[in-house]
């Protein structure tokens, strides 16, 4: 198996927020914690595009680089996870992340920032797989059950794809060739591009008639 990745096809995303709901339900995240969200560009204008955004499990994850307690690790499948027992809730990862993935629950009487929470690719965390502890801290561990992240599996238009990079790339390639447009991938190069590779040039703005 190559490596796990997310891919969002903005030509297909209809901003239904099914992925957001599925994520919250599967992981029972607390109030105010959105591991996944849908961002719409040019909302209300002709040609608007929506993208489902969460932790992209970057190849060269900036959160890992800035963490002062080194609480992040990468699994053999390329999933970036963290140990909440090690996290001090400093928020450095939030500033480093280009996708705004790290979330911080408000805890205590004075709204003190709690330990960081983010998408786990439905792979739990460093607790016993399938244990109550793991579920409480990190949510479900579907990967250990041979399943893929629920956000992608629940996606009604299959805009959001998750899984082995080679497989989902091939699915997307076939789609883009069939429809003859929309071959651009938002955030793909930012998350998985080669070191120092420039971000892809923005698409030419379509002239509205």
């Amino acid at each position: 198996m190559a490596r796990m990745k997310f891919l969002c096809d903005s030509e297909r995303c209809i901003e239904c927020n099914g992925c957001v709901t599925a994520c919250k339900n599967e992981n029972e995240t607390p109030w105010g914690i959105q591991r996944r969200r849908v961002v719409t560009l040019g909302d209300g204008l002709p040609g608007e595009k929506s993208v489902s955004v969460a932790c992209m499990h970057c190849s060269d994850a900036p959160c890992m680089a800035v963490c002062p307690t080194d609480c992040f690790y990468r699994t053999d499948e390329g999933v970036v996870l963290h140990d909440k027992d090690q996290c001090i809730g400093c928020g450095y990862c939030f500033y480093a992340c280009p996708f705004g993935a790290p979330q911080f629950p408000q805890e205590g009487n004075f709204g003190i920032r709690g330990k960081m929470d983010k998408c786990t690719f439905c792979a739990g965390g460093p607790e016993k797989d399938g244990s109550a502890d793991e579920y409480k801290k990190y949510g479900g561990n579907r990967l250990a059950e041979g399943k893929l992240p629920l956000c992608a599996e629940m996606c009604s238009t299959k805009a959001l794809l998750a899984g082995d990079a080679d497989v989902i790339s091939e699915i997307f390639r076939e789609r883009a060739l069939t429809r003859g447009k929309g071959g651009e991938l938002w955030g793909w190069q930012q998350a998985y591009g080669k070191d120092g590779a420039p971000a892809p040039a923005p698409a030419k703005k379509e002239v509205q008639k």
Partner: protein
């Protein structure tokens, strides 16, 4: 005296070369088990084929035809 000064200056100039590399630190948390250990009895190939099959459910070209 001049020799000593030259040595001190060169030592000072070379001090910059002793900088340690700034790399990502080693993970300091708990170790995580492999995802195929709990439910697949450590059979990685079986786990991978289950995921591959699951992956194809996202491909409606295959689901429909």
């Amino acid at each position: 005296m001049r020799m000593l000064a030259a040595m001190l200056i060169s030592a000072g100039l070379l001090a910059g070369c002793g900088e340690t590399a700034q790399t990502v630190g080693d993970y300091r948390g708990k170790t995580d088990a492999k995802p195929y250990e709990a439910n697949y009895g450590g059979d990685k190939a079986k786990w991978e084929s289950a995921l591959r099959a699951r992956n194809q459910t996202q491909n409606e070209y295959k689901r429909v035809h």
